[in-house]
Symmetry: C2
Subunit: 209 residues, 2 copies
């Protein structure tokens, strides 16, 4: 029987009755930090918000609601809905007057980051944001090595456009080491990405003076 | 029988079999522009986006998904989900390097705008945004007169905080006429709110020089 927590999540009891493969997956995720890139970023954003450093939120998953029940004496229940494609990236907000906009993605690959992780509408949104002088980037995680990179969107767009010319469908790790900014997990915030943003802002100021 | 459009909305056939009150409501909404404040703002944001003027989007409604079915050969169907409270305002984005953040609300009142239209978490979010130098405001519509105002969040916060002292639970129209910026519907964009934003930016620049 599925037991529900008040947050609506189903409680999964981890015992030997699970198929072996599923059990292995669980162990793997516990042996790591047990947190996804999304969880780590949400926690980092919470930390930045609590410190008054920045106001960055993940956008809710867009859902097309078709049928809603309004039972007496309890909350409305959505009974039929569908996932929609987002027309933007997942994260945005404001930091010291600057508009930040970014997407976060993970790969199981070890030596390159597949471009198919990004969708055309996200790429278009990044182009639009760059034209409006946004600070726009992607946070990429290699789950096997737990290496984390911040890559400015302008570089991602270069790789994206180049794939039609040279057919290369991924960004080599070596290029990320060169063009991206490697980040390391910390206690709080877990992913200190504003430190890289500070660097990007300073770089931009240098250019304009 | 309910006929569904591909967008998931139910087709409502407007005939005399409808109860009189419901029919009246339909006529009323058709006799107006037939568009809600949200529709008008989404269309305005689409216009600004297409013109390359700004990148502003409405955030999706936050939903807590509990149960999803994955039928063979068709899209995943959400079978159980609940509405959650948003932790931010509904609209944000970037305009010429500036971070914009706003909420849009309507009232049927004629002479004042009830503060209960705003939720505490939205007020807190606006305070946080102001600290990060966001351009933060609310767009308010009086549906009876179709009058539209843009009010800077700093003024809304004053009224919000004052209600605990003087118990006044709404903003008088007369004060909106004084402290807000009245806007008028146009063809495109329907609600030309960036014109007021330009004015706010110029005002801010004047102050800092």
């Amino acid at each position: 029987m599925a037991i529900r927590y008040p947050n609506g999540k189903t409680y999964i009891h981890s015992d030997k009755s699970l198929p072996k493969k599923q059990l292995n997956n669980q162990l793997t995720s516990f042996s790591k930090r047990g947190m996804s890139l999304e969880d780590d970023l949400n926690a980092s954003n919470q930390y930045y918000l609590a410190k008054g450093a920045a106001v960055i939120h993940k956008k809710p998953t867009p859902v097309q609601i078709v049928k809603v029940d309004y039972p007496k004496r309890s909350a409305a229940v959505i009974k039929e809905a569908y996932f929609r494609h987002a027309s933007t990236t997942d994260y945005n907000g404001v930091y010291q007057g600057y508009y930040l906009d970014f997407e976060a993605k993970e790969t199981k690959n070890k030596l390159s980051f597949p471009l198919k992780n990004f969708h055309e509408h996200q790429i278009i949104h990044m182009q639009q944001c760059i034209k409006q002088q946004a600070i726009c980037f992607v946070i990429m995680r290699f789950s096997a090595s737990e290496r984390l990179f911040l890559l400015e969107a302008k570089h991602l767009l270069e790789y994206w456009n180049k794939q039609q010319l040279d057919g290369r469908k991924s960004i080599p790790l070596k290029e990320l080491e060169k063009n991206g900014y490697e980040m390391y997990y910390e206690l709080s915030p877990r992913i200190p990405y504003l430190r890289v943003v500070d660097f990007l802002i300073a770089k931009e100021k240098d250019k304009s003076t």
